[in-house]
Assembly symmetry: D2
Homo-oligomer: 399 residues x 4
């Protein structure tokens, strides 16, 4: 008989108990591929016990070297250079679309037809019309669909939604939101990448950044009745990425500003730009309501500023700076002791939980996850903003 090593093996034990495995097929391996893959890997042991264990079956991309490297890096079982093939893989139940905007519609529609559940990066598509074809496809297929409006999954933002739902804020008067970045300003020397190409991206800062705050407007305040907007392209010729000696025309917005009128009577402003020096990822909004105000800034995403009307003692009334990191804050019982902050990437872990929970337990993706219908509604507003800017008049919204 061998020596007693004291070691008890876990071999054969299912890694997270009875949770079912969900096979994942990922399209895209760049920024969002990294963020989503990390979340799939981290979810089962951090939001423990998980509702399902994501199994990284395959990752698809056109460059064989890059996709093979991504598969190796993130631990996918293998890779595809053709997403059509990946969608035929029966081991895959969840299709995750992290590709550029012009590769959202076809693969998602095909995935829906193949009966895959879908997580699609935002914006859902380049136009409302294109988005509608996707919404129709997923609705018809009866699968679970979620758009990666991940800021709904920032604990502080979910907390705001809960405060609103509880009635604690009362009637909402104002919503003002900006999403400011700086990375295509002159000193960056940014070439005409796909995000600056209308054919690929649909729009510029609007669909990239604006879509996030439009979705938050929908999520937190409700339906939009009208918009009135301006857009600007500050630099309209940029070097081509593949041939820096040639210039290409930038045909998307560098920035937009809009007034917004909500169905519930609130008014506000929306703005996004990639020309705000010093603003790295400044998604910042404020809500003023009957019983209080709240303010959020993504660069300090673990914090929430809140003012309550009538608080006692009145001598110390003022905006609270609440560190959102207590066990009773949304999702925080999965993380660390209070004050040990989380980061941007954690939003994807929460987001994936929401979708997996919907898949495994046949729950609704909404209202806290954004469905393709939410993605479509955001696209309607984006289109209306472009229309208003073009026609120089207020545009009424019809979703």
């Amino acid at each position: 008989m061998g020596k007693d090593t004291g070691f008890t093996t876990m071999a054969g034990a299912k890694s997270e108990g009875d949770a079912p495995e969900i096979g994942v097929g990922m399209l895209g391996y760049a920024f969002m591929g990294k963020a989503h893959s990390n979340a799939f890997k981290k979810y089962p042991y951090m939001m423990y016990p998980p509702v399902a264990v994501p199994k990284l079956v395959g990752i698809a991309g056109r460059s064989v070297d890059a996709v093979a490297e991504a598969a190796r890096r993130y631990g996918y079982e293998g890779y595809y250079t053709d997403w059509h093939k990946m969608l035929e893989d029966d081991r895959i139940q969840l299709f995750d679309n992290g590709g550029p905007n012009d590769t959202h519609a076809d693969p998602c529609i095909a995935a829906a037809q193949a009966g895959k559940h879908i997580l699609c990066e935002k914006p859902l598509a380049r136009t409302a019309e294109e988005s509608k074809t996707m919404l129709d496809a997923v609705t018809k297929a009866g699968i679970k669909h979620q758009v990666a409006f991940n800021y709904r999954f920032v604990p502080a933002i979910r907390q705001i939604r809960d405060l609103i739902d509880s009635g604690k804020l009362g009637q909402i008067y104002h919503f003002r939101a900006v999403y400011l970045q700086e990375w295509i300003m002159p000193h960056y020397g940014t070439p005409k990448i796909w995000r600056l190409d209308k054919a690929v991206a649909g729009s510029g800062s609007l669909g990239d950044l604006g879509a996030h705050i439009i979705d938050l407007a929908h999520y937190l305040i409700g339906g939009i009745k009208s918009v009135s907007a301006l857009t600007r392209t500050f630099i309209d010729q940029r070097p081509l990425p593949d041939d820096p000696n040639k210039m290409g025309k930038v045909d998307v917005d560098d920035a937009f500003v809009s007034t917004v009128e909500f169905e519930n009577g609130a008014i506000g402003t929306l703005e996004s730009t990639r020309f705000a020096a010093g603003r790295k990822n400044y998604n910042c909004f404020e809500i003023n309501a009957e019983y209080g105000s709240v303010r959020f800034n993504l660069e300090r995403m673990n914090e929430l500023e809140v003012f309550w009307v009538g608080e006692e003692p009145k001598e110390t009334q003022g905006f609270h700076n609440a560190l959102i990191s207590e066990g009773y804050h949304p999702w925080w019982n999965n993380w660390w002791p209070h004050g040990h902050i989380i980061g941007w990437e954690h939003t994807f872990v929460h987001e994936i939980h929401n979708l997996l929970d919907a898949i495994v337990n046949n729950k609704e993706v909404g209202p806290h996850g954004a469905t393709f219908e939410d993605g479509y509604r955001a696209a309607v507003i984006c289109d209306a903003i472009l229309q208003s800017a073009s026609q120089k008049k207020q545009v009424d919204i019809k979703y």
Copy 2:
């Protein structure tokens, strides 16, 4: 021979050397009467040596008790219950109009005709048309005229203007400004005071708060090409001040939001409201430009946030929080050692200096002081905002 007391009398000495006296006649004794009177009293010994010494000759108001009390309190030599009479007083060279908006035009026009220099509270008048009559009158009279857009005289704001003028910020892309207050929200129980009455005030938050940020937009960014706006009146019935059992209709805006397009290509948003819980006097704006960004918040008026593109070492780039209190900052050589902050009331001291300097030394009131032309231009934008909100379309500006 008497005992040597060691005392040398100043009797007979002119209190501030050779500076001439300027006789002041004040209309109004409430909020602005207090702020202006304090500034007149404080100016000659704090911005020393003064260019002129304001002599508080008379103060006018309808209530004899109140105006007598104000005269006693602030040290005016006497009082008037009829401003027409005050304007006949030859001892007065400077007429200061601190009355409600509907008492701006007639007294100012009469004062101009009487050859008095004029300081008038903002907004200049209730409409652009009314403002134009005033501008015409002062122009014809050839007197010095200044509108009390006192925020031009916040050191941090003057510093921003100087940075822009120096070219250090380069091309301006964005201007976003809000002026948020809370004092007519439901929990205040505010009756329908004059500021909520269109006949007296002209407009609501727009003329009161919005006019300030519109003037700053003009002062810092330049001419406006178009606006597109919404207004809201959240509470449209309020108790009458004199008879709280009766309700009166609020016929002015509680809030407005607007996009704005500048002649120089910049775009932005403007907003004011009196329904922002927790925002006491939150005049806050941000400028994003080619070489940097600046941000200002009136509640922290001694501070200026500035980001510079390309600063070394790059590892510590970020928004500076500059405490504007050095001897080389605008007007600060008159005040205290650095870090010993000044307050809101100090803006009026700087403002009065600007006007007295123009009067005594025959200088221009502008560009740093707001003239009646600036007041008129702000009124044009106010009118256009109301027109845009009413017509639901972008309104092109013609000054």
Copy 3:
């Protein structure tokens, strides 16, 4: 019969009703002379109706040109070049000592003997022993005496005291205070001015800055049981002011740090320095107590940060940033609408009111004003800090 001018003269009317006049004699015309003179001038019309009207009788200083100029600037009736003479002036009831530290004791003692009430700049004197002679003199004379620890008269600090007195904070555990400035760092090239000369100043940052936070420790927390300290002089040779080619030895501290143990069981740290780059006037302290915490920073003196234990809803607990500018905050009913902030100089107006109220209405200067006994107690702690630093051991306090 003459024309009706409509003018009613205030001539002969007492400027502030029935308030008695108090004749003031000022020693010193530099930084503190300016701050105090401004407060005397501003008090009667801003804290209206005043309890007394300061009458600026005389100002004393050694330089005849400078003192004459100061008399002219601030409107003193005349001047003295010998303070002994000024103390013989019967028109003076209140002696205000704004001179350097080595001119505190003799003039104050003489003033007390002459029956004048006294306001003396801080620190009261160069040592506890010297302070004691002054305390004894004013006690014997039975006059009102106040040390210009003006930060007690910051509204936010008085608010903290009121919160403590009300029991709302419960048992105090911690007090940590720093007073950081930068103005003698190498890049300033500061010569060996009087504040760096032990014979004149008594100590360096300790008596100048440290005395303020020691007084606040006494005012807010209570008696001190022991201290344990270090001091440092980072630059011990500086050019002489009168002869920059010669160097003089700096014989005072550039900085000190100390632990502190309070009689009530709380512990803390005290620190002051003039070598903190970027800290202009950073008097900042935090109190942690049973039911909450408070934090104050003089550079943002209109704000108060407060955390309350157990506040509902718990999801938004966090430090409040209270803008101390409401009519119900200390002294604020005298100033402006909320959010229209006040400055450093306003503390002196509140301070003067406290002393004049004590004089006219025979009230106590304390507990909110600092008496000479408070000045003496601060000096005892200063001495103990120097002793501890020298002996390298904890020093028990005996007041």
Copy 4:
């Protein structure tokens, strides 16, 4: 011939290329077990390509149920209920000690004797003497040893160290550090857990929180010459965890304060407490130096406040708020686009990289990783602080 599925398998490919595997044996499965396990899992795909791939061989703990659950959760191949047995496992090259303080010495010494490299949680041990036995053992064994002072691996803190090393800050004058928490205040009702038991923990807030800032003092400023300290236990009787009806004496400090004198002439204060209401994880320090100042706050760990002396234009000098998230900031090229912040847990990923790099490439763990010598030095200061508090005098340090 089968259908072309388009799938290329990664089976057989080494998951991270040529990086060697390092077998890990973990002791402890609570707070630190979770933090470390997450870091081991995340390291190889986020800091890609990794220097080594941690292989989670075994985890040890006394409770079989809990340790089995932890093994399942984090994906360890198996578990041990006896750490002695685990140290005999040849598959393990790296022993990670995440147990309570009283289980640091014996397992680490045994691991060293077994030739394992070691990562040990802080504080290294309960006393300097105990720490010395560990240091001697690892030195003799010649293995790589690192103490988990993870805050050295916050990018902002490493950035500060780099600024200091570069000479950009010049001579350091001041270091003031606090580490404030609140979780044993009365309203938490905390029982006498192991962290409040001297036999297990060695000390209270001192070893838990204070050790972190002492290590940062060593890392950033250098050797300490003397300390002078006070300690307090505000609640000295608490319910026993296992029998809440019985009370146990708390024999560790709830808080300490200390002055500190550095070998390079700088002075400062150190403080930690668990009685600071509202301070969740407030590890905050400031350095004032010849050419600038820096300030860091762990609750905003992605930010760094920096003031530079002499910066141009002088009008905008002020503390920068640098968002530490650029590709050129320490470790950030592994993470996300700028402004997409990271969290507390990421420090462990950086920390593990440092140790694995030392193991695989035979580099030094220091100066950026804390060795057992650094752990010992921190323990020397902790002991001196307790000694000073007890003897009421300054204690000179001998490491």
